[in-house]
Assembly symmetry: C2
Homo-oligomer: 228 residues x 2
């Protein structure tokens, strides 16, 4: 592998792919890491791989399926037999079921280890302001604590910086940035369901539609309910 300037956590969603594009275009060769927790579907991961190829980034899949199995029944994992994906807006209490305990801490400690070994300057993750309400591991205090941990953990080793450029942006801001960068939004995946098209109704679909609308960017996503 060539020398990478950044290691980017990329799920294959709109936010993380936009971040990956931004890092590759403005910062130099990047390594994108996608994490397989045994999610309900692999569509996100396939989209991450596709987008990495499009922009010329390297992409690696980190297999955490044995971790996912131990994290228990959850709407985001394929292990949640019979647990329905909740419909509605992210900020609703029903979305709490989508919390995977410690997910960002696990992904970021892996990304830091990889970036330290590779000598990369930066670890980047696309957490943003809209995630703060439901997910504690998307908040500024979490980011500060993670940086403090890594400062201890990597004493004497190469210690990358953490880059969270979306931390105080809205999802609409990210859509506007992605539009500017030429992100192939059609090849990003938000829906919790893994059908052919986005369902248009689940929490992340509702957020996605709203973000395009607020950003004033044409939403070319094909939604199953036809209201695109």
């Amino acid at each position: 592998m060539k020398a990478h300037r950044s290691v980017v956590v990329v799920s294959g969603g709109l936010d993380s792919v936009t971040l990956g594009y931004s890092m590759q275009r403005e910062y130099g060769p990047s390594l994108w890491l996608s994490f397989d927790y045994g999610q309900r579907h692999r569509k996100e991961l396939d989209h991450a791989e596709f987008a990495a190829h499009e922009v010329g980034a390297d992409w690696r899949l980190v297999d955490l399926t044995t971790v996912g199995a131990l994290l228990g029944a959850d709407a985001l994992t394929g292990h949640a037999n019979g647990v329905a994906v909740p419909y509605g807006h992210y900020a609703h209490e029903s979305m709490r079921i989508t919390v995977v305990p410690n997910r960002n801490a696990i992904m970021l400690t892996v990304a830091y280890g990889v970036a330290s070994a590779a000598g990369a300057e930066v670890v980047a993750i696309g957490i943003h302001g809209g995630d703060h309400y439901v997910y504690p591991d998307c908040r500024p205090a979490f980011v500060d604590a993670l940086v403090a941990l890594e400062a201890q953990s990597l004493i004497g080793l190469h210690t990358p910086r953490l880059h969270t450029p979306f931390l105080h942006l809205t999802k609409a801001d990210i859509v506007a940035l992605g539009d500017h960068l030429g992100v192939p939004f059609a090849h990003t995946w938000s829906c919790y369901e893994g059908e052919q098209l986005h369902c248009g109704k689940c929490g992340t679909c509702v957020e996605r539609r709203e973000a395009f609308m607020l950003a004033g960017v044409v939403d070319r996503t094909l939604y199953r309910d036809g209201e695109d």
Copy 2:
């Protein structure tokens, strides 16, 4: 699986197996997690599984081989083609090659996630005073930073406590405790090499022998160099 009171990081070495015994015996049902980074050999992992069975703990293997591959060439992983295992005492500079960047941060964030999902009260790890010199992620400041991170990461979710009872003990103290608990030391593995017997010469073998001697406990380990 039954309800677990603790989730214990157990490599299969002398320290972690003694900790696992202590948690299972004194604290109640425990879940031992062993991590496969694609180590040079699987002997440690087999010993962890055996010891868990002996004491009645549950054991799960966490497959991190794709992470190990990305952490690069290292004496502890099977990926280090041609990198020889360093001989000598742990505290020597040559042992720096055995540092896997961020390893304890990765293992502990996984263990915290699992323990949070399982409702376990405690996450335990057997880092001890003898590790402080070489490994930054075995020091008290690292432990404090990890606890601070998890306090943020798991807001609103079940947050286990971190238990590091060996943090200020020597390896000889641990041998004395393990002797008291009836730990089957013959079924713990320290050697970096994966041969039939402990080599007796590498850093961890030297430390192991010294610990038994200082603790005044008979060392029944069979060493390849015959000086047992």
